[in-house]
């Protein structure tokens, strides 16, 4: 099952867990499943039907361009990161 790494400031929603193994075939499904165990987490990362505007998601080290729709594998590592900017 994919491993979700919890951002430091959101660990209060996962009882302090730094990472969790959560079932799911897409990022969105993983977030929904995680929210079932730790209610409130989804609201911290999702707004409407997309990621919050301040966030991006990385799957296996690469930016997940599909956001919540991004497919994940059994061995995938999922990180929520701030949305990028640049100069």
């Amino acid at each position: 099952m994919p491993t979700v790494f919890i951002p430091s400031l959101l660990r209060k929603y996962t009882s302090g867990q730094e990472s969790l193994v959560v079932p799911g075939r897409t990022v969105g499904e993983v977030v929904r499943n995680l929210d079932e165990k730790y209610p409130g987490f989804r609201n911290q990362v999702v707004e409407g039907d997309d990621l919050k505007s301040s966030l991006a998601v990385s799957v296996d080290g690469d930016l997940a361009v599909g956001g919540l729709l991004e497919q994940v594998r059994e061995s995938s590592e999922i990180h929520f990161v701030p949305a990028i900017g640049g100069g």
């Binding site: 990180h79 990161v81 701030p82 100069g87």
Partner: protein, 759 residues
Amino acid sequence: MDTPQTQQFKIIGTRPVRHDGLDKVIGRAKYGADYAFPGMLYGKVLRSTLAHARIKSINAEKALRLPGVKAVVTHADFAPQTTAPVYRMGGEAAINPLYLACNILSKDKVLFVGHGVAAVAATSPHIAEEALALIEVEYEPLPMVLDLLEAMKPGAPILNPDVRRKSAPDEQTNIAGEFQFKRGDIEAGFKAADIIVEREFRTEMVHQGYIEPPNALGIFPGDGHATVYTSTQGPFDVRIMSATLLGLPEGSVKVIPAEIGGGFGAKLTVHIEPIALLLSKASGGRPVKMVMTRTEMMRGATGPTSGSILKVKMGAMKEGKIVAAKAWFAYEAGAFPGSPVWLGCFTGLSPYNIENFLVDGYDVLINKPKTTSYRAPGATNAAFAVECVVDELAQRCGMDPLDLRIKNASREGTASVMGPKFPRIGFVEVCEAIKNSDHYRTPLAQVPGKYRGRGVATGFWINGGMQSSAIVNVHADGTASLVTGSVDIGGSRASTAMVVAEVLGLRAEDVRPAVADTDSIGYTDGTGGSRVAFATGLAAYQAAHDVVRQLKERAAKIWEITAEDVDWTDGKAISRKNGVAPLSLKELAPRLTRTGGPVTGRANVYATGVGPSFAGCLVDVEIDPETAKVQVLRCTVVQDVGKAIHPSYVEGQMQGGTVQGLGWALNEEYVYDEKGTLRNASFLDYRMPTCLDLPMIDPVIVEVANPGHPLGVRGVGEVSIVPPPAAVANAVSMAVGTRITDLPVSPPRLFKVLSAKRG
């Protein structure tokens, strides 16, 4: 199949003359301020002279009575806005439309000196300026805060009463954002450390210093369609932002990007474009041209980058292994939220593989202009602090500073500070290239009566991918044109054209690159984040391969075989079947008409596989003990670029970023008076380095191919600005024997250090 590491190229890696060079040299290139239309009006903005005040009333009656004045607009003329995010950069970044509108023209409060209050359109720029003086604004002055630490304290003057910390939702605050990255056991790490270095650093607000002031020419006849000519890094950003502020559908605004005279991140947002459109609409659809003065640009209408306070503590074992790091970063956001502090939090420690760390970052409102991006935003501040502490750790461990970096270097598979693991990166190779450079191997000679020192520092930048579109048209004469949506700010027309030439087997000069307006090309994110050569280059590569696919079909038709039996090798279609002579593009192009008509290749990409960049800077300095002036004697910049498509422009980026970093290190800073007015709002007083101040910057290209790109390309535009401030500070520290912690290391600051040392 060739991998990015093993590919051999014919065009990539060569140094052809840039396609846009002649136009720029002879003055034919058209910049934003060069556009003019019959009946055109001139727009000017009335700006606040107070740093913090409530606007009680705005009376424009006298201004409107002045002959030649056609319109006056204020914030109230924008469509009503909320704080609900509007997405840009393909959904990867969002704007707060209320803050954006309020920053351009203040709604009910002015928040910094230079904040826009109202705008005028008139038949000449002089009449417009005269009219500004006739607009009567009644202010209620409010207490202001100009110091970062003071702004963070409870009881500080509050800029935005709606801002709250998540941890204290009932208290007003200027802390608009908090970030944290944490791993391992920080206390255990420091407990185990043999050596601990802890210091506090400070940097001042600095400007990007682009030569061409922001400009816009807006045409909005009121028929629902608006057109903007502007100097911008992001035409599609201008489109969504202008449409949002005017209450128009995104597709009804057409943005025509002009040539650009520098931007460095500041021109990824709108400054006056929506005002030009408002004024055009209010004056019956007449074109309205606006060009900022240098003072407007500097004083805050465009956004410099953050000043910061940076506290860094690092612990290492005697043999140089870093076992713990703690960082506390506070960045000035300016008048509205959005400093790049989180990028500082992410980038500062990421070059190092540290088991235990804690990084906290704060985005702080202050009565200074809203900050905006500046080349590797946020990274330079953080690296200044971290790299100075790393240097001191090396000194305390008795190690070569590069050996300490190599010992602790992040490598492929190391988890970055944000968590995701690095792909193949070239940080170690960068450090080794510095060690092997002639500069590093040549001892620094001391001279009597002067202080001399050598400093080294490294830096990291994440780089961007995002969305790009490209079209390649094949012409009957055997040449091709390349159309993209990426404004060319650093030679990207040449590099993307070279990619197409490589694939199609043409000379670089046989591919004519062009930058299209927002109606003429698919969505393309802005020229920022060092993404264009990578992502638009990828789109160009794929579009060229789309052409190849079609050319193989045409050759198959001519040879009366199937396309599957045609290869494309070395720029030629080759039959696997009947031994006929290969056909090059130049030979196929005249036969397109009889084989199916025109050939156009296209590609739209959302690029993944971004390759992060690392750079290093080695600098020798000499200090005059009498004047405390720091003179850079020698400077070498080393950077992992993945694959240098056009080495001259890559070197230019490396040198340019280094020069900006040296300016940040040596002299550049915003100097405010007690009323919150910027006192050095011109290039005469805002002291950027000139060619007379610096030696030749020696670039050393390192090529560790990015496996995420078919040509091995990494972004190259930004990372070279990151190391120089720390490198200079380390060099000056070595020279004078006192650790430098504040930027810039200007004569007044350094004189105090030298005086204290002399007692």
